[in-house]
Amino acid sequence: MHEYALAEAVLRAAARVAREQDLARVTRLEVAVGELQQISQELFERALTEVETASDPRLEGLEPTVTIVSAALQCRACGATFAMGEAAGEQGADEMEAIHFVPELAHSFLACPQCGSPDFEIEGGRGVTIAAMEGVTDDA
């Protein structure tokens, strides 16, 4: 459940931005999770409401939504574009678990299906990011 640490990071970042923007409360938080991270939508939405280490009054009652973003990979050696499911390379449970922890390890285990190179760009579908955030100021 290392996703709880990532959930805490999300909530801390949201609270910081709310503070910087003088928001009294955050009303909407959309989180994008890359497919490479292999985190389930339900699990991460739950984590985002359960993590208490980042509790902040500005986030009270917030129900963040999570969207999974498909991975889009492009080979730097031959130019081919491919999805995660199309990648060549070992993709057993251990390899996928490693990528779950550190998505960059895609370069250790996945490869371009056209030329076999591990030198591809992760154009999308990596990481946990805040995609949208809305809130109200005190006087609103």
């Binding site: 459940m1 290392h2 640490a5 990532l6 922890f101 390890l105 370069h107 250790s108 992760i122």
Partner: protein, 243 residues
């Protein structure tokens, strides 16, 4: 809007870490990993709560030097460093095992931030960071993400090494990083190389560690390591590092 929350997470994960010592030098093969590993071991040996973070993502070494296992970490909340000889150890090798990690700079940067954002160090007196060679993404990210890091600069007396370490010291001085001092490693004969280098940049020369042929054989076994003259020389330097 696209906001990467991992720097906020990293700050939280490092909140109970009192000091961060980055063992650095710019050049490869000068003993950064050896100094970082044995420094962590010996600091733990005198009772400090110590963590060891291996940031050489393409050539991680501390698991070989200290002999800690590289199984996937426990993940009660974030991921737990593995406890080994009193040191809490975290390395990319926990995830990649013996597999190559061919990572361009932007990926090194991202992986490093991911590891910082998920590792539960808990309360530590000191986190020792083993830096990769070069003045690239990892070096620049540590300067950016862990401003309070204290840099311990390793060198040898070799000319080609001094040339590179001089470049690293230039960078550290330019960004006004905190430099603990310079240590000369693998000393075979008295030399003023390290103290001249340190003097040129206005930082302390902390002393020398002998070339110790027995270190290679001891590597992998913390108890044998602590018996080497390399380890005892490093132990003697702990007070100069306020440890």
């Amino acid at each position: 809007m696209t906001l990467d929350p991992r720097a906020d997470g990293a700050a939280a994960r490092l909140a109970d870490v009192k000091r961060v010592i980055a063992v650095t030098g710019g050049k490869g093969g000068i003993g950064k990993s050896s100094v970082a590993s044995v420094l962590a071991l010996e600091a733990a040996g005198i009772g400090h709560r110590v963590g060891l973070l291996d940031l050489d993502l393409t050539s991680p070494s501390t698991h070989v030097l200290l002999g800690y296992p590289t199984a996937f970490p426990e993940e009660p909340f974030g991921v737990e460093p593995c406890d080994h000889a009193g040191v809490r150890c975290m390395s990319i090798a926990h995830f990649a095992g013996a597999h190559a990690a061919p990572l361009r700079g932007a990926s090194v940067s991202s992986a490093l931030l991911e590891i910082l954002a998920i590792t539960n160090w808990g309360p530590l007196d000191v986190l020792v960071v083993d830096m990769p060679p070069g003045l690239g993404d990892a070096a620049l990210d540590v300067l950016k993400l862990i401003e309070r890091a204290e840099h311990l600069v390793v060198t040898t007396s070799s000319r080609v090494v001094l040339d590179s370490v001089n470049r690293m010291l230039q960078l550290l001085m330019r960004v006004r990083a905190r430099v603990l001092g310079v240590i000369e490693n693998m000393q075979r004969a008295p030399s003023s190389a390290a103290s001249e280098l340190a003097g040129r940049h206005g930082v302390r020369c902390l002393g020398a560690l002998p070339y110790d042929a027995s270190f290679e054989d001891a590597a992998g076994d913390p108890e044998r390591i602590s018996g080497t003259s390399f380890a005892s020389s490093l132990r003697a330097l702990l007070p100069a590092l306020n440890l």
